[in-house]
Structure formats: C-alpha cells, structure tokens
Amino acid sequence: MTDTKTNDTDIESEDTEKPTRRDFVVLAASAVAGVGAITAAVPFIRSLSPDASVLAVGSTEVDLSNIKEGETITVMWRGKPIFVTKRTPNQIEEVRSVNLAELRDPQSDEERVKKGKEQWLVTIGVCTHLGCVPVSGKGDYNGWFCPCHGSHYDSSGRIRKGPAPANLPIPPYEFLSNNKIKIG
C-alpha cells in the first residue's frame, strides 16, 4: 500500500546502504530506553544491599575478667557469634607443636593471636564450610566440632579434619586494657 509520495521515498531510502534519519532516531531512542532500563534496575538491586542502619552497627566490647582458664564465651558481633577463649598452657603448647605442613590451611598459632596475649584466642564462630556454629570442647583436636558436616578445629581454631576449607577467621579486635577487648 502506498499512501503518499514521501512514504515512497522513505521506503526506498531504507533499502539503500546509507543510514537514514529514521535509523538514527530508532538507534537514539533504543539507546535512551536501554540506558533508562539499566538505570531503573539500579535502585531495585541496590535497595537489597545492607542499608544505612545495618552499616552503622559499630563495635562490641567484651569484658574478659570473668572468663576462667579453658573456658570459651560466645558474644554477638554483626549478627555472628564470636568465640573468646582463655586457653590453658597445655592447649597453647599443643597447637604450637603441630607441623604446619600437615595443615590444610597452614597458619601458625602465633599469627592467630596477639603478641603477649597468647592466652586469648578470638575467632569468628562460623564454620568455613557452610556457616554453622561449631561446638566448643568437642572433636578430635581439643577445639571445636561442627555438628552440621563434621569439621574438626583445634584449639587455635584451625581446620584439622572434615569438609571445611579454612581456619576459623579472626575478627578485627584490639585490647583496650588487660581485661577488655574491642571487636570491630
């Protein structure tokens, strides 16, 4: 169907190799729509990231004075359990005598505690396999045992047996005094 003459020339010029003004308008409109669609997706995706109130969660202070030797306490930091353990001299000696080549995630005990505060082990109590909380004082290595899939950690929180790939992570923390630490 041919309505008018101008339409005819339009149709003809579309058949040639040379881009027409209409091609340009289609391209420009598609580009604007594409950029607009991507821009519109950003707020939706970003709205699911941690919001300002979650990011504002600061640090946790822990009083160490009431922890007995050989005992582990669990405190909450950023929604996760933090294990604070006062180790016995036996435990320290045991984990320091291990040959690093035997470990799946080789790390010496010295790297995992603060110098001069070897008694204190502070780890994030989340199994590096699939995120369960290991049980204190259980397992084959006098440390932790994860009930979910059977990972064993020693009393330095290092992975010794089971499917977990890495040692229990160490959170950022510092000693405020002899009896107080700040996590975060």
């Binding site: 169907m1 950003v42 707020p43 939706f44 709205s47 699911l48 919001d51 300002a52 109130s53």
Partner: protein, 406 residues
C-alpha cells in the same frame, strides 16, 4: 516429526521452534501479537490501556521490593516505612514511585474509562470487556485502600476504620461482618496484618483479570473514534510496529509526568497527616480519602442516611454494569451523537466536581452542590441517557474507517 512441515525449514533453530510449537503453541501465540490488526484511526486516548499495563507492572515491582523492607505490625509499620525512606538504599525512590504510582494508575484508569464512555466502547459486542474493566476497577480500589493502610499513619488508620465501618451499615449482620474484617473489636494489628497479605495478593488477581480483559479485547478488536466496526483490511494496520511505537511514545510522555511528581513533588498528591503515626484515640480534624476516591466519598456523604449512603456509593459503581443497556443507541461514538456528546461531557465534568466537593469540608454550599451532583449522576444514567440515546437525531456515520481518511 511431521513430514509435511519440515520440508524447507532446515536450520537447527527452525527445527527447535517447530519442535516446541508442536507441543506448546507459544510461537503462534506471539505471532498473533505481531500480526494483530488494529483500526488505523486510533487517537492518543487509546494509549491509556498500555499505560495502565505498565503502571501495573511498576506497582508490582516496587511493591515487591517494598515488601522486602516493610514490617506489617502496628508497633513497627510506621517506623519500618521511615527506615525505608532514610536508611534503605534508594528506599525513598521506591516508596515515592509506589505511592505516586497509585495516583498515576487511577489517573490513567479514569481517562481510560472516560474514553470508553465517550466512544461507546462498552456497547455490543464489547459488554464483557467492559464488565471485566469494572471488575478490575473495583479490585484496584480495594488494593489501593489496603495499601494506604500499611504505613499506619493517621490517615491510614482512620481510613481503615471508616471504610471497614461501611459494612456495619448492612442490616442484621453488619456488626459481625465488621468484627470479622477487623479480626478484633477495633482496627488493630490483626487488621493491619491481613491487609498486608491481601494487598500483596490482589494485584495478581488484577493481572489475571487484565489477561482476560485482553482476551475479550482481541476477540472483536479495539473500538475506534468513529465507532464503526472494521470492515476490510484497509481499515486496519498491524499493531506492530505502528501502535507499539505509538505506545512507547505514550510511555515517554507518561513517565515525564509520573517522575516529574516522584522527583519534584512526591507528597503533593498525598495527605500530610499520614506522616503522623496512627493514634486510635484522636481523629484528625480534616479527614479525607486519597484524591482518587473523592467522587465516591462525596456520593456517600451526600446521602444523610448511613445505609442509603453506602448503597448509593456502591450503586454508583455497580450501575456501570448496566450501561450497555441503559444506552439504547444503535451507534457507538459520541462524535455522531450530538446530544449524547454534550451530556457525556457534562457527566464527566459532574464527576470531577463531585471529586472537588469531596475534598471540601462538609458545610454549605458544598453540601447542596454535592447533593445536586449526586442526583445528577444517577438521574443522567437512569433517566436521561435511556431517553436521549433512543430519541436523538444522529449525524451521518462514515461508511468505513478508511473513508474518514482523505
């Protein structure tokens, strides 16, 4: 594989398409859309359906992301909305888009309905298409009402109280029904909790009804500004690319208005009192519904009787179901019905005046004007329309749609 169909289709993609098509006719369904033929004289009022469709999608999308951050509990609802505004990344944008979106949805739907009234789109053979539209409108109002309750501000609470109390006007069972709706002896946490669940559900009922609306539309095709049925191919053009491009242009204009409000005046369509947390002991001095409910609110208020007001308000919507028969004219478009054209425009203006009066305090002269407009609303539909549509002298209809193109 069928022997007759695989003759000249040798590419692997064609074979996959054919394999699927034989089992699930999705490609012929898509073909229907690309080849769907549409009257070639549609004006911009025919853009409103697709605009309503895109706003429905926007409401569902923003609503989904709001529901991920909102807490439907009386102690936390208001604060969780403020958390969305202040802390959630782009939460302010998503909430304002959802809130302004509701207004835009109703603006588009009112224009969509006005178009149908003016061009007789409700007349045979499109009565069921019209019915489905009214059902969508009713579910939309229920959805918007329940959504407005969720932030649990003053207007939310008192709106919920007033609207649920409409059912207390029902004789004998009224009070029991209201207690059942509330889940208690007043609007409280059980009410908020169930409104959240229903506000999430109803949009999907709207989507389903819109699908049926489209099935009914595609059966006989769109009406057009002449109201003359399509007679030959020359009256039509394929929907794609002609009306897809026109719809995209409509989206562009619509988004400019929509996001003009969202970014530059997001609260101008709302009520400031909804930024005050709900207080069951104090009703705000000037309680009004959202603007898109005002005409019906005014009809309710104009009748000085509880049950009568409720019946009039619901009747004002339900009467629209009778429109295809109240209008006895043989032709559709108001462009060829001089009297009907004037009265339809007056009817639309009357409806706007009803909305304006609904936003005014209940005092003179607003009470009298409101009652006059309410009377006119029903008088027109029940008496004037049936008479003029059967008696009036019609203008000559064009022979066909293409005959109007010189």
């Amino acid at each position: 594989m069928k022997s007759d169909s695989s003759m000249d289709k040798n590419s692997p993609i064609d074979r996959v398409i054919e394999w699927i098509e034989y089992r699930l006719p999705i490609f012929s369904f898509l073909k229907h859309f690309s080849e769907y033929r549409t009257p070639k004289n549609l004006n911009y009022l025919w853009n409103l359906g697709s605009i309503a469709g895109i706003i429905l999608i926007i409401q569902i999308l923003t609503g989904l992301f709001l529901a991920m951050q909102y807490t439907p509990h009386v102690k936390m609802a208001f604060d969780s909305v403020e958390n969305i505004m202040r802390n959630v990344n782009y939460g302010w944008l998503i909430r304002y888009t959802h809130a302004v979106g509701a207004s835009m949805f109703f603006a588009a739907i009112y224009l969509h309905i006005a178009k149908a009234l003016f061009y007789g789109s409700y007349k045979s053979p499109r009565e069921l298409l019209w019915f489905l539209g009214i059902i969508i409108f009713i579910v939309m109002m229920a959805t918007a009402f329940m959504g407005y309750v969720l932030p649990w501000g003053q207007m939310s609470f008192w709106g919920a109280k007033v609207i649920t109390n409409l059912f207390s006007a029902i004789p004998v069972f009224g009070e029991d029904i209201v207690i059942w709706l509330w889940g208690g002896f007043s609007v409280d946490n059980p009410t908020l909790n169930r409104f959240f669940a229903l506000h999430f559900l109803l949009p999907f009922l709207i989507v389903a009804t819109v699908m049926i609306h489209l099935v009914a539309l595609h059966k006989h095709g769109s009406n057009n500004p002449t109201g003359v049925q399509v007679k030959t191919e020359y009256d039509t053009i394929p929907f794609h690319p002609y009306y897809t491009v026109k719809d995209f242009f409509g989206f562009g204009v619509f988004f400019l208005i929509f996001f003009g409000f969202v970014f530059f005046s997001p609260n101008s369509l709302g009520h400031p009192d909804n930024y005050i947390p709900a207080n069951p002991l104090v009703t705000p001095p000037h309680i009004v519904p959202e603007w898109y409910f005002l005409p019906f609110y005014e009809i309710l208020r104009s009748i000085p009787d509880k049950l009568g007001g409720v019946i009039a308000m619901f009747g004002a919507i339900v009467i629209l179901f009778l429109l295809p028969w109240l209008d006895g004219s043989k032709i559709r478009s108001a462009n060829y019905r001089p009297l009907f054209r004037i009265f339809t425009l007056i009817f639309i203006i009357n409806f706007i005046v009803l909305g304006y009066i609904g936003g005014m305090p209940p005092e003179e002269p607003y009470i009298s004007v409101g009652q006059f407009c309410t009377t006119w609303y029903f008088l027109y539909l029940f008496v004037i329309l049936p008479i003029i549509s059967r008696k009036e002298k019609l203008k000559d209809l064009p022979k066909s749609i293409s005959a109007t193109f010189k």
